[in-house]
């Protein structure tokens, strides 16, 4: 009884936030062939802003945290960074019947994380008035990189040393991830938040805190459009891929919740880590994979991560991870 009530309240709290509703409205409008795109110039601006703002929030929280409480969650994140891409690889290879290259490409996406999904779970927790460890956006940066590296390593081990230029491409892809905009903005935000410190950040709160939910809402309008367009293509990808777009985040999300509770995170923090583990990258990973594995099919990995897993997590997954986290902690 109580569990059902909890699930119900969590689902409602998540579904009825402005960002999620904006996502759904935009998605439905797109499927009905209405033109709801916001101006093209807005999205890179919003996504950069969100990354910086997440970083600043995390850096600020880091400055207020006891360093001793950080290492356990960090280990948990590293373990997830190694395990989740391997799970994704095996599932897509065996169950999804994808080729090695495509499975590795998909593994890179599921091993890495989606900053927007992360932001949605924070907004949901905020809407519920539930607290979480602020420094988790530091783990976002870690997870974003590690998962991709592990996935690319999978395929490199398999195909290593062909002297076909793949090594050069591998290094290039790594640099692309580590020095790319999304990681750099996140890290820059962390540094700014940490150095400037809680008190002096108040002058920029109207931008970095006040605008956050609204900016996320606008951004999810675009995500709704893009996800709906990808969903249309999902048929081509086949039902096995589509199904795994739901199964993989469920498995990884559950693992994330377990890891979070073992690492001593609060229920909110555990839900955040679960969401991170469950989420699939659709910015950093596609860029790295396009360079390192140019023969992998973008139609496959973009459809899976953006067309299936992203909406699944935003609508169904997040409330679920919240309930699982609640149960485990």
């Amino acid at each position: 009884m109580l569990a059902v009530a909890l699930v119900g309240s969590v689902v409602v709290d998540n579904l009825l936030t402005a960002p999620v509703i904006a996502f759904l409205v935009a998605g439905v409008a797109t499927l009905a062939r209405f033109d709801i795109r916001l101006p093209e110039a807005l999205y890179p601006i919003l996504s950069s802003y969100l990354l910086l703002a997440i970083g600043v929030k995390g850096g600020r929280a880091l400055g207020l945290s006891d360093p001793a409480e950080l290492w356990q969650p960090l280990v948990a994140a590293l373990v997830l960074g190694v395990v989740t891409p391997i799970i994704a690889f095996v599932l897509y290879r065996r169950v999804g019947r994808a080729g090695t290259i495509d499975a590795a490409a998909l593994a890179a996406h599921y091993g890495s994380v989606s900053a927007v999904t992360f932001t949605v779970v924070l907004a949901t927790l905020d809407a519920r008035g539930q607290s979480y460890e602020g420094y988790l956006s530091g783990l976002l940066a870690v997870l974003e990189v590690v998962g991709i590296v592990v996935a690319l390593a999978l395929v490199r081990t398999g195909h290593g040393g062909h002297g076909d230029g793949s090594e050069a491409r591998w290094n290039e892809a790594l640099l692309e991830v580590v020095r790319g905009r999304s990681i750099t903005l996140l890290l820059a935000g962390l540094a700014i938040g940490l150095i400037v410190g809680d008190e002096r950040l108040e002058a920029v709160d109207p931008v970095f805190v006040g605008l956050f939910s609204g900016a996320l809402t606008l951004f999810l309008v675009e995500m709704g459009v893009v996800a709906a367009e990808r969903l249309r293509d999902a048929r081509e990808a086949g039902w096995r891929i589509a199904l795994l777009g739901i199964v993989v985040p469920l498995v990884n999300g559950t693992l994330g919740a377990v890891a979070g509770s073992l690492a001593g995170l609060s229920p909110g923090g555990t839900a955040v880590l679960a969401t991170l583990a469950a989420s699939a990258s659709y910015i950093a990973a596609p860029a790295a994979v396009r360079i390192a594995l140019p023969t992998a099919s973008p139609g496959l990995y973009v459809t899976a991560s953006l067309g299936i897993t992203f909406p699944f997590n935003v609508i169904v997954g997040i409330p679920l991870y919240l309930v699982i986290a609640e149960a485990l902690t």
């Binding site: 890179p44 659709y282 596609p286 140019p294 099919s297 973008p298 139609g299 973009v302 459809t303």
Partner: protein
């Protein structure tokens, strides 16, 4: 007007390749280039490229040999792997030493 003939090379490539393409074009002897951005469709389909932002459209006025060299590189390193399209056409320029 004294003019000389050069080749105008136009390359359209998925956005990720921007820096690499510029580096290659310069390395192979182009003395200048210009890049803008476009969206489009071709063999690869729109979906595969759109997520990473608009494609790069590079144009460079070069000598015949440089054009030849760049095209050769496109054929070996770009065409097989990436969404890239290219064409050349003769143009007339003043100050031929600048190209």
């Amino acid at each position: 007007m004294t003019t000389a003939q050069r080749q105008l090379l136009t390359v359209i490539a998925e956005s990720l390749l921007e820096q690499r393409l510029i580096d290659d074009v310069k390395r192979l002897g182009a003395k200048g280039y210009s890049v803008g951005h476009v969206r489009g469709e071709g063999a690869t389909g729109r979906a595969a490229l759109d997520f990473a932002g608009p494609s790069v459209r590079l144009e460079s006025v070069v000598t015949d040999e440089v054009a030849e060299r760049i095209f050769e590189l496109l054929r070996t390193d770009y065409f097989p792997h990436y969404a890239v399209v290219a064409w050349v056409a003769p143009v007339r320029v003043a100050r031929p030493d600048r190209f």
